[in-house]
Symmetry: C2
Subunit: 331 residues, 2 copies
Amino acid sequence: MQTLLLKKEEVSKLICMEDVIAAVEEAYRAFNSGQVVQPDYMSIHLPAPRGEIDFKLGYYQVNEMISMKVSSGGFVNNPAEHDVPSGMGTILLFDARSGALSCVMDGSLITGLRTGACGAVSVKALARKDAKRVASIGTGNQARMQIRAIRDVMQIEEIHAWDSSPASLPQYKADIESAYGIPVVMAESARAAVEQADILITTTRGTGSLVQAAWVKPGTHIVAIGTDQRGKQEFEPEIFRNAKVVNDSIAQCTDKGETWHPLDKNIIARQDIHAEIGEILLGKKPGRESDEEITIFDSTGMAIQDNTTAARIYRNALEQRVGTFFPFFER
Amino acid sequence: MQTLLLKKEEVSKLICMEDVIAAVEEAYRAFNSGQVVQPDYMSIHLPAPRGEIDFKLGYYQVNEMISMKVSSGGFVNNPAEHDVPSGMGTILLFDARSGALSCVMDGSLITGLRTGACGAVSVKALARKDAKRVASIGTGNQARMQIRAIRDVMQIEEIHAWDSSPASLPQYKADIESAYGIPVVMAESARAAVEQADILITTTRGTGSLVQAAWVKPGTHIVAIGTDQRGKQEFEPEIFRNAKVVNDSIAQCTDKGETWHPLDKNIIARQDIHAEIGEILLGKKPGRESDEEITIFDSTGMAIQDNTTAARIYRNALEQRVGTFFPFFER
């Protein structure tokens, strides 16, 4: 009985964005097919300047893998004091047929990758087929990851970017243009960026109505990433009134996603949420039905996305004979 | 940044029962000193003939370690079909100062060890000082572990053992006598064993009133181990009426321990529970107050026991330079 150990650099070579998009699509379909067990996650919150550690558990009955992702974040003094990043991660994979520990892999990359991929999955399901221009509100790592994934599923003609720290814009522009050859316009204001959008991506740590409803033109598809806990907010809740609202998990999004805000303000009711994205992928509910409607995909992230992504990395490692086997016990 | 990996045989050499008893005592004190964060555990239940996998998380603010114990059990076909035991375990230790993964160790042994130690801790706190005879209802692994631990804190003169499978008794007798030189009497009935007891240990998978209240003589200390989930039961609930009832965690024991049964039958009320054992160890509440009273220690097991035990194993490994360092990521 041996357990496969995978380092961060091995993980990064074992999976491409196309695979991650397929894994996230698989996760969404599985979630809406009753093939997933995904308990509420557990957290330990440490006092500042430390952050928190989350433990997310998912069981996928089709691949017979149980995943436990442990991810830390917000330990701001880590680089200076402990010579490690402010956030780290580990993923365990158990064989659900026996309970054996199959794999321990570094998990620093997976959250970013699978979150990036979710925007791309929603673009395929919900954006206009003639969408060309992307607005990016926020220019951090996840903003880049969204572009990396979305360019895999559509031709992006132009990106209009804005950030509450304008100083970050030139580096974002330089990075995106050199990596993907997509021209980036540094917007004067959030409004100027949003008004250009066929697809609007928000990846900030915002806590208020950053994007006003009136700025969003008909036909826009919105990928709302930033809000994954109470207290965070990126949109004026009014935007939800006449939009087609899609969640990754209605239970999660109504509890702590962007969707919580319009519910809290009675702008929409729970039954106004059109679908979970897996229902659309499975053909149980329609996606976009006109070129005029505004679609909103609110993503809070699910353990099953980590499961299907990590399982692909593990399978690729076995096939490519990458990694180190370690015998935690001898039989 | 390196993570220490510890195999099962390394773990077994890195800790002695004396250390485990100290670790469990530390855990109980910590729990009742507000130094512990211990969320409800998560479980995945698989369809028979598979079992379940539990995930237990504990943070101890004094050693600044966060432990996650993953333990599987009840996979009855494992030996035949997968060449692994029916239950396995893994423990992760994170440095709460940075969130870094400090250690991954095999966790097959820790649950048995720390559960064994809890009986010994309760004997120190609650048994008569002149206690000599132990009755063991149940003769499996945990029954042996209880003896291994209790003999560390008192002189056992004689053990009266009984099991619902009488065929297991001769092996138990042979094992205990050769390991510890303590004479074992194979009792004709549960009653015959219980009537001899100064200390009564129950470690069965029972689901009914195995031990009758009338059999238990005044002054007995009871270590109730077997019942750790709804549906399990070892005692006639009447025994709780005039006993001094001590729990490891009142929240857990009243929810799924032996203590649930007399509460359910209105034989005792919640306020009749004398103490959590940590309160006694800390001197906040008295332990045994007379040679006549019957004391009951109901143990359901807490994540913080895994934490303090695993942390000692980790510290011992560093001191003794045992184990394998693995770089999950390069800084």
